[in-house]
């Protein structure tokens, strides 16, 4: 088995930066009690101002005022890890979050589909960059070795145990992931590299150091298996982006929205499912969330399309109050079936398939605005059609007009010519919509042909019910 380790050296910073439109603006993450706020991490923009991790906030503010701050939020980091695990699950069935800020993937069994490794690696890097995370990737025959190699290398792929041993032996002791006091003790003993450490007698090491040290070394060399708990994707997608200021316009919501729909698409691709119905919650201060439900006719998972549709629905909403946070919740995740396509399409220039066009129209015009047409086996004209296509055998009937008027219209024309009729339509006594009418084909003076009726036994003018257009 081959294990890839994706190390995320700046997970907390990336997790905050990707929610902001301008990633270059100076930003510092703060931790510690309110009396003594300490800079936990800074981005390159902030570093250029002279800020360093470990400084107190007051010291940093003495240097400059032109930087933004955010909390070093452990739950946000955990959410980022879960998202990345869901993304990685699309590439491998065995994904583990065993080590903090790090993804472990079993890649050998995935090489048949995504391989060879250089191409697979390039794809992983490309998608991670698109998601907004900096990363280091290494591959080794066991997960612990892959993690340790990521401490010192990026892009290194070791596939057999012999080479792994040679590579590991050159690593300095402090990079091996040993406890800090053990690493210090070894350094004081004059042991600089793993090679020197392995040359020492095992019984001596077992006496001098805790048992965990030998265990760790054996795991590194693949002599001892490492028990991993594997990631299992949740059944519900729930992501939230807290905005760092109060947003009152739709335009400013689009960037976080694009992130959320992009994350949703990555998550869906990992599960190989689609989404048919999801809700966008806009959180306000001191009042209930505004909800934007988005419903699709079929399961979809294309990021750009999800974004466009949600945007269409969002633009119809009047924001009742400033928005503090955006949350996307998707509960129904049906399996995704890709659409069948012809190899030789009759319209090669076809840019937008009908399903996507229909969703776009529904998003702007309303759910009921796009429908089909079907015939029903009923003689009453107002019951003869439905909005769903049907394939019923129809009883034979007389000539029918191409247009049917919603409401019959009184024909008050003197020179009306009756061309044919009467055709008696009498039906519906069983469902309360009783109809007894005599229909005539009429022609007006200007040459229009209509379909008009008079209720049996009734008086008054003919009522126009359709046009023979």
């Amino acid at each position: 088995m081959l294990w890839a380790c994706i190390l995320l050296p700046q997970l907390a910073m990336d997790g905050v930066l990707r929610q902001r439109a301008d990633a270059q603006a100076p930003l510092a993450l703060l931790a510690g009690p309110p009396q003594r706020r300490v800079l936990q991490a800074v981005n390159p923009g902030a570093r250029a101002l002279g800020l360093k991790p470990g400084q107190t906030l007051s010291a940093a503010q003495a240097l400059s005022h032109d930087f933004a701050t955010a909390d070093y939020d452990l739950t946000a980091i955990d959410r980022c890890q879960q998202l990345l695990a869901a993304w990685a699950y699309g590439f491998s069935a065995q994904v583990s979050l065993h080590y903090p800020r790090c993804l472990l993937l079993e890649v050998q069994s995935s090489l048949g589909l995504f391989g060879p490794w250089p191409r697979f690696e390039a794809r992983l890097r490309e998608e991670l960059t698109a998601l907004g995370f900096r990363h280091r990737i290494t591959v080794a025959p066991n997960p612990a070795a892959a993690r340790v190699l990521a401490n010192a290398h990026d892009g290194l792929a070791v596939s057999d145990t012999q080479t792994l041993r040679q590579t590991l032996e050159r690593l300095p002791v402090e990079r091996l992931g040993l406890p800090r006091e053990v690493a210090t003790a070894l350094a004081r003993m004059g042991v600089r590299h793993l090679q020197q450490l392995l040359a020492l007698p095992r019984d001596g090491l077992a006496k001098r150091f805790p048992a965990a040290v030998l265990d760790h070394l054996d795991t590194l060399l693949g002599l001892r298996p490492l028990a991993l708990d594997f990631y299992r994707p949740p059944d519900v997608f729930d992501a939230r982006i807290e905005l760092n200021f109060e947003v009152e316009s739709h335009q400013a919501l689009l960037f976080p929205l694009r992130r959320l729909t992009g994350d949703l698409a990555a998550y869906l691709a990992g599960r190989d499912s689609g989404v048919q119905r999801f809700t966008l919650h806009l959180e306000h201060r001191n009042r209930a969330d505004s909800e934007v439900p988005v419903g699709l006719l079929g399961a979809e998972r294309e990021a750009g399309m999800l974004f466009e549709l949600t945007r269409g629905r969002l633009e119809h909403l009047q924001l009742p109050a400033p928005v503090l946070a955006v949350r996307l919740l998707a509960r129904e995740l049906p399996p995704f079936t890709p659409e069948h396509r012809q190899l030789f399409d009759e319209r090669p220039q076809q840019s937008l398939p009908w399903e996507q066009l229909r969703e776009r129209l529904r998003a702007r015009l309303g759910d009921e605005a796009v429908h089909g047409l079907g015939a029903r086996a009923d003689h009453r004209p107002e019951h003869a059609w439905t909005a769903q296509p049907t394939a019923l055998p129809l009883p034979p009937c007389g000539p029918r007009p191409g247009w049917l008027l919603d409401e019959p219209l009184a024909l008050r024309e003197a020179s009306l010519r009756i061309l044919a009729g009467a055709e008696r339509i009498e039906s519906g006594w069983w469902d309360g919509g009783d109809v007894r009418r005599d229909y005539y084909l009429v022609e007006t003076r200007s040459g229009q042909r209509g379909w008009a009726f008079r209720t049996v036994g009734g008086e008054g003018p003919l009522l126009l019910h359709g046009w023979f257009a």
Binding site: L357, P389, S446, G447, Q448
Partner: protein
């Protein structure tokens, strides 16, 4: 000083364009009415373009004019979209005309939304024909439809009242349907002269 130039030399140098040299294009989109096909320069509807049908009043054959085309398109599995139809299409009549209702979609929209929906349908290229009934469409709106029809290579039909005949239009083909006498006039057709003589619509109704 003038020099005598023989006609052959001018023609050989291709510096004179000969109007008669236009070859009649093969009828990619026949209307289904032989007499109308014969009088149109393309031998049918102008492909990937907007055709305008100006109707004096409802009920004078405006659907019968298009039904053969729609029947042909839906039988080939192409989708036909009606954007904002003025009335409910009576399915029995459309079926009797040979239109396959499984490939027919109706979009309920009015005003600017209808124009937007028409343009989206045309531009997508996933429809065989798009029919619309714009109420107040100006020159610019029609030009957008014409460009969208070209982009998506789709047949576009716009039904408009007869009063619009006086206004210029970017449509590739403009037809007028008169109620009495029942006739069809070609106001404008791209790529040729409009036939001077009106066609009797009674022939196909």
């Amino acid at each position: 000083m003038t020099s005598v130039v023989t006609l052959e030399r001018l023609l050989d140098a291709r510096s004179v364009w000969r109007g008669q040299a236009v070859v009649a294009a093969s009828a990619a989109q026949p209307t289904g009415h032989a007499e109308l096909d014969a009088s149109l320069p393309a031998g049918g509807w102008p492909d990937s373009a907007l055709s305008e049908i100006l109707v004096a009043a409802p009920g004078i054959g405006e659907l019968r004019l298009l039904w053969p085309t729609l029947a042909r398109l839906t039988a080939a599995g192409e989708r036909v979209v009606l954007v904002g139809p003025p009335h409910v299409p009576y399915p029995q009549a459309w079926l009797a005309a040979g239109v396959d209702l499984r490939h027919l979609a109706i979009v309920q929209a009015t005003g600017r939304d209808a124009l937007w929906a028409t343009e989206q349908c045309l531009r997508s290229g996933s429809c065989g024909a798009v029919l619309c009934w714009p109420n107040q469409a100006d020159d610019r709106a029609l030009r957008r439809l014409q460009v969208a029809a070209e982009t998506g290579r789709t047949l576009a039909f716009a039904y408009r009242p007869l009063a619009e005949a006086a206004n210029p239009s970017p449509a590739a083909l403009r037809l007028v349907l008169d109620g009495r006498p029942a006739q069809l006039r070609v106001l404008k057709c791209r790529g040729g002269l409009a036939p001077a003589r009106p066609l009797q619509t009674a022939a196909w109704s």
